[in-house]
């Protein structure tokens, strides 16, 4: 993506990640309902984390293949939802928007019961209900139905992300919320400081979204069996990272799995906005506990979904 002049590029030394000490090895079998793998991490205020990094100017990673296409604007009257966390607890004061590829409504915050209603008066191209800050809780963009008038999404959820993230570790393992990334030794992680000005915001966090709390339309018909919120949304990884996920759906050992990434970028560089794209193939390990990448990889940090091939 053609982003701005100043970027942060993480060129972390290979080796152990001093911050990645909150997950136990071989923990993949304990996925739980929130994907924290029993590590004791909780959401709430992000902790402080410092990772070796050096700023770089200019684009480092090449742009994604691009999936932009013009569609007809959609007329929506209003969107209402009740937003809760993975335990069903309402999330108060959370900003929500209706965002298309070219325009966003002004933010409206949830009340103390997690309720929010956004009224619209303009048609929007590819409208999605955007909620979650991608810092304390996962961020999601379910596309809204065409010409649906007033929409009620009901009770929808977003998992609380771990308070302390993990440094991206080229040549090593980066883990959070039972999700593991394996970056190639020469990997670069590129993101915009505009979106993540604080160092601890530029660390890897992940948590699983209980499917029962997934908003209608989030999987866009892809029949996903598990969805994981990853952060920092929008960070580009080049070359792509292998991703290793807990086998929450319970696929049989040896099964091959599609690993998809959700289009969160209005420039639609890596996936169509609000839709999903297969970026990797996974296989369930012999123990049936983990889905390991066998082909492809994750080129951008966004929500990740899995389904049987």
């Amino acid at each position: 993506m053609h982003r701005a002049v100043a970027l942060f590029v993480f060129l972390v030394a290979c080796g152990s990640d001093p911050l990645d000490d909150t997950h136990d090895d071989g923990n993949g079998g304990t996925s739980g309902t929130n994907g924290t793998g029993g590590s004791g991490e909780t959401g709430g205020t992000a902790g402080t984390a410092t990772c070796p990094d050096e700023p770089a100017t200019g684009d480092v990673c090449s742009d994604g293949p691009g999936f932009a296409e013009t569609t007809d604007p959609v007329a929506i009257g209003s969107v209402a939802a009740t937003i809760v966390d993975e335990n069903g607890e309402p999330i108060a004061n959370l900003a929500a928007f209706v965002c298309g590829t070219k325009v966003c409504s002004l933010p409206v915050r949830t009340d103390s019961n997690g309720n929010v209603t956004i009224a619209l008066s303009d048609s929007i191209e590819k409208p999605a209900f955007k909620y979650g800050d991608g810092l304390e809780v996962g961020r999601f963009f379910p596309l809204l139905s065409a010409d649906a008038g007033d929409i009620s999404l009901g009770t929808i959820g977003t998992p609380r992300l771990p308070a302390v993230g993990s440094c991206f570790t080229p040549g090593g393992r980066t883990e959070s919320g039972n999700v593991r990334l394996f970056l190639p030794p020469d990997a670069v992680v590129e993101l915009l400081p505009l979106d993540y000005p604080e160092p601890d915001q530029r660390t890897f966090r992940a948590a699983e979204l209980p499917l029962s709390l997934a908003p209608p339309g989030l999987d866009a018909g892809e029949e996903l069996d598990a969805i994981f919120a990853l952060a920092p949304v929008g960070a580009v990884i080049c070359p792509p990272a292998a991703i290793d996920l807990p086998n929450t759906p319970g696929y049989a050992a040896g099964s091959e799995i599609d690993i998809l990434v959700h289009g969160a970028d209005v420039e639609e560089a890596w996936a169509p906005y609000g839709l999903w794209r297969v970026v990797a193939t996974g296989r369930v390990d012999d123990a049936g506990e983990r889905i390991e990448t066998i082909d492809g990889g994750l080129p951008v940090i966004s929500d990740v979904g899995v389904r049987a091939r």
Partner: protein
């Protein structure tokens, strides 16, 4: 007490007998409203065809040529770019942005190049940052981060009270107003990133004026 009020009083004080001094007409006019001494006359409105009211902000006239601190903030207003003769400014593009607005970020990746292309022909861009990532009023740190990210060469200001919201037909961002700098009349307004429509309009308008 400012000069507008002192001068008539001074003249009156000098009067003696029946030879009352004539007070110049310009001192009898009400002082201008808004934040610029010289501005287009009203009535003012918010729709296409009406004259936009003068609006005051704090920001940086040349963000890429200054340090980004509270102490370097300048008073910048629409009136700064009011140019009845068109000698310096023909068009004023007023743009709103917010840190949470991805479409605004995409728009600003392109704006510096557009500014460099059209500024010599009389376009000036005034962009106003109104909210941070959480939807709270933008502050100087947010503005600094924005202009440093995009290496902004055109005036960029803070609009924490979202004064530009009066022009938005819907509560949304980005918002773009294209004003005739000679009259401050609103030529067009756009909600959302409508670069495909906006820039041909700018080209058409500037070319028409150059042909006159």
């Amino acid at each position: 007490m400012n000069a507008w009020r002192a001068a008539p009083l001074a003249l009156l004080a000098l009067a003696c007998g029946t030879n009352r001094p004539e007070i110049p007409d310009e001192l009898l006019q009400a002082p201008p409203t808004g934040c610029s001494l010289d501005y287009a006359e009203g009535p003012y409105g918010t729709e296409v065809g009406s004259v936009a009211a003068d609006t005051c902000f704090k920001g940086w006239a040349r963000p890429n040529e200054t340090t980004h601190e509270v102490s370097t903030l300048q008073n910048l207003a629409f009136g700064r770019y009011f140019d009845p003769t068109g000698e310096r400014y023909e068009l004023l593009l007023v743009n709103s942005a917010a840190l949470w607005c991805m479409a605004c970020q995409v728009e600003h990746e392109d704006l510096p190049d557009r500014y460099r292309e059209y500024a010599p022909r009389g376009l000036v861009i005034l962009s106003a940052l109104f909210q941070d990532r959480e939807g709270d009023p933008a502050n100087v740190d947010d503005l600094a981060l924005w202009v440093e990210t995009f290496d902004t060469p055109f005036p960029m200001v803070l609009d924490p009270d979202y004064q530009l919201g009066v022009y938005a037909p819907a509560a949304s961002a980005p918002l773009n107003l294209l004003l005739d700098a000679r009259t401050m009349r609103i030529l067009e307004k756009f909600t959302g990133d409508q670069s495909a429509v906006l820039w041909p309009l700018v080209e058409e308008e500037l070319s028409r004026r150059e042909a006159e």
